[in-house]
């Protein structure tokens, strides 16, 4: 989305400040990377070189989870395989080869109320957006909805509340917050305040949120995921289909798209 100011892409060696276990299978990696901290926009991502050898060969994409001051960047990651397992072995002071910031992030619409809808790890990029919104003093007209399978997968609720945001949670098993899907939860809310929706999470959730938005004629931005080999727009591997039939690069034209332009399957 954010196509306005073209952001310079950099390849930097960041320093690990902290690599912290925050929930079962989930870690928060805090790095010192001034260039990235200054350039980063909510919804953009980074390509991390995991490990020193040729296996895994490719970089791994991770959203920018938070930026602190002008030097520190957070990444929130879930361990799902080879690369993320290696990430957990990073220790303070070690260097990490990063390319970024990449892609087009969310374009926050200051004038309207904001509704952030996160599913599972989808909170990773949305937290940065929430941060930015509150820093711009618009926290009051912003609410965050987080859905997860169960309470242990419900992330960042406390952090969001401490920055003064109104947070509502839903879990599929009801172990915390309302029981059920996030979409059930937001339906009546969207009807009332007619917010702009910013969403990230599993595809089925994004699809449901988008349908809802369209049904109520609300503007909606979604962050999509694809396997990415380059993250730079060079390999044409990460394409997704648009409503107009175009195949566009998630890493370049996205990862954030206008829900109305996506060809939902």
């Amino acid at each position: 989305m954010v196509r306005g100011d073209r952001i310079k892409i950099d390849q930097v060696t960041a320093t690990v400040l902290e690599n912290r276990f925050i929930a079962p299978g989930v870690y928060r990696l805090r790095i010192e990377a001034p260039a990235l901290a200054r350039a980063a926009r909510p919804g953009q991502f980074l390509m991390l070189r995991v490990g020193q050898t040729l296996d895994p060969l490719l970089r791994r994409p991770f959203s920018i989870h938070a930026v602190h001051g002008s030097r520190t960047v957070d990444i929130l990651y879930r361990v799902v395989g080879k690369g993320t397992n290696i990430l957990t072995t990073l220790r303070n002071g070690e260097g990490l080869d990063i390319v970024g910031p990449l892609g087009c992030g969310f374009s926050w619409r200051e004038e309207s109320p904001s509704l952030l809808v996160a599913g599972g790890m989808g909170i990773a990029p949305l937290f940065f957006l929430a941060q930015t919104i509150t820093q711009n003093g618009a926290g009051a007209k912003t609410s965050v909805f987080i859905g997860a399978r169960n309470k242990t997968e419900l992330l960042c609720v406390k952090e969001l509340k401490t920055v003064g945001l109104q947070v509502e949670a839903a879990t599929e098993d009801g172990s915390r917050g309302k029981k059920g899907l996030i979409t059930d939860l937001i339906t009546n809310r969207v009807a009332a305040s007619r917010p702009v929706i910013y969403s990230c999470g599993p595809y089925p959730m994004l699809h449901a949120v988008s349908s809802l938005a369209m049904q109520y004629g609300l503007s909606c931005q979604v962050s999509l995921e694809r396997f990415m080999a380059c993250g730079l727009g060079a390999c044409l591997g990460c394409v997704t289909e648009m409503r107009n039939g175009d195949l566009v690069r998630v890493c370049k034209e996205g990862p954030v798209f206008d829900a109305y332009e996506v060809a939902w399957k």
């Binding site: 892409i9 694809r226 060079a234 044409l236 591997g237």
Partner: protein, 307 residues
């Protein structure tokens, strides 16, 4: 007494490169994608994504999957088409000081010929690289590059249609790559480049479906380097035209293996994804190696394998 810097320049037919390090087609976009990360003017040359006459949408995703030390891709040769390339992509490349090599592909001989004609007098194109690893629709999808007769026919057609130097890019999925290299030399190629990707496949055992939308894909990366190096050595020993080596080159040492095996230049592909600075580091590494071994130029290294 400071040594004079070694001479990295190489000659590919009429084409002079300031150093032997090119970017491999399809792995460097149209150059601009790497503008922030690479000093493009330090490259030996840029080979752009394969072009067809009309724009191509490419294959349905997923298009890429990682394999051990490798990458499988089935992009399906998506590209903007020759006219959009000339209008939208070439101007940026023309502003650079390095040779721009255009990779072309056709569904039949006619398409190759038309592409060559169209690009013949376009300002700012230094050479054509002809990708013959494409299915020949006329021949029911048999790949041009796997049949030395078809390969020769494509070469002749392109040769007749352009004054530009032509580099034929060979497919490794063949029994005898030497016979194909000889056939295209015979047919008028100014150089050959090899290898293109090895055809491979991957399956998701949980869903029991292919990991690629296209089922089959092309394997690239360090995994294929030993095969690429072997073929480059075999071809370099059999043809008189220059050979451009490609396949799994990640470091200067990898590039040096290809030069020593007989390649006059190299292409860096998948490495651009893993380490955008790869080409820059390879150029510096080759220069450092030459200095350390007291070699005055890279030419004296080409084909210097001791048996």
């Amino acid at each position: 007494m400071k040594k004079t810097r070694p001479d990295l320049s190489v000659q590919i037919g009429l084409l002079r490169l300031q150093n032997p390090v090119l970017t491999a087609s399809g792995t460097f976009g149209y150059g601009e994608e790497y503008a922030d990360l690479v000093d493009l003017n330090r490259l030996g040359g840029i080979i752009v994504k394969g072009l067809s006459l009309k724009p191509r949408p490419g294959n349905m995703p997923p298009r890429t999957v990682e394999t051990p030390c490798g990458l499988l891709n089935a992009i399906g040769l998506q590209n903007v088409g020759v006219e959009n390339f000339i209008a939208d992509k070439l101007p940026f490349l023309c502003d650079l000081s390095v040779p721009v090599i255009v990779n072309v592909l056709g569904q039949d001989i006619k398409e190759y010929q038309r592409l060559a004609e169209r690009l013949n007098n376009v300002e700012g194109i230094a050479a054509l690289e002809v990708n013959i690893s494409c299915p020949n629709v006329k021949k029911g999808g048999v790949v041009f590059g796997t049949d030395h007769k078809a390969a020769a026919r494509v070469t002749k057609a392109v040769r007749a249609a352009t004054r530009l130097p032509i580099i034929i890019k060979l497919s490794p999925n063949v029994t005898d790559i030497v016979s194909i290299a000889r056939a295209v030399e015979e047919a008028g190629a100014d150089a050959v480049s090899l290898i293109n990707t090895l055809t491979g496949m991957a399956i998701n055992v949980e869903t029991r479906r292919p990991k690629l939308g296209n089922v089959l894909g092309g394997l690239s990366g360090p995994a294929i380097k030993p095969v690429a190096l072997r073929m480059v050595w075999q071809v370099a020993g059999a043809v008189k035209i220059p050979v451009i080596g490609c396949g799994g080159i990640m470091t200067a040492a990898d590039a040096l293996e290809f030069l020593i095996a007989g390649a006059s230049a190299v292409q860096v592909g998948t490495a651009n994804f893993v380490n955008p600075r790869a080409t820059m580091e390879i150029i510096s590494g080759i220069e450092e190696y030459l200095a350390r071994h007291n070699l005055k130029d890279v030419k004296s290294l080409v084909g210097s394998l001791i048996l």
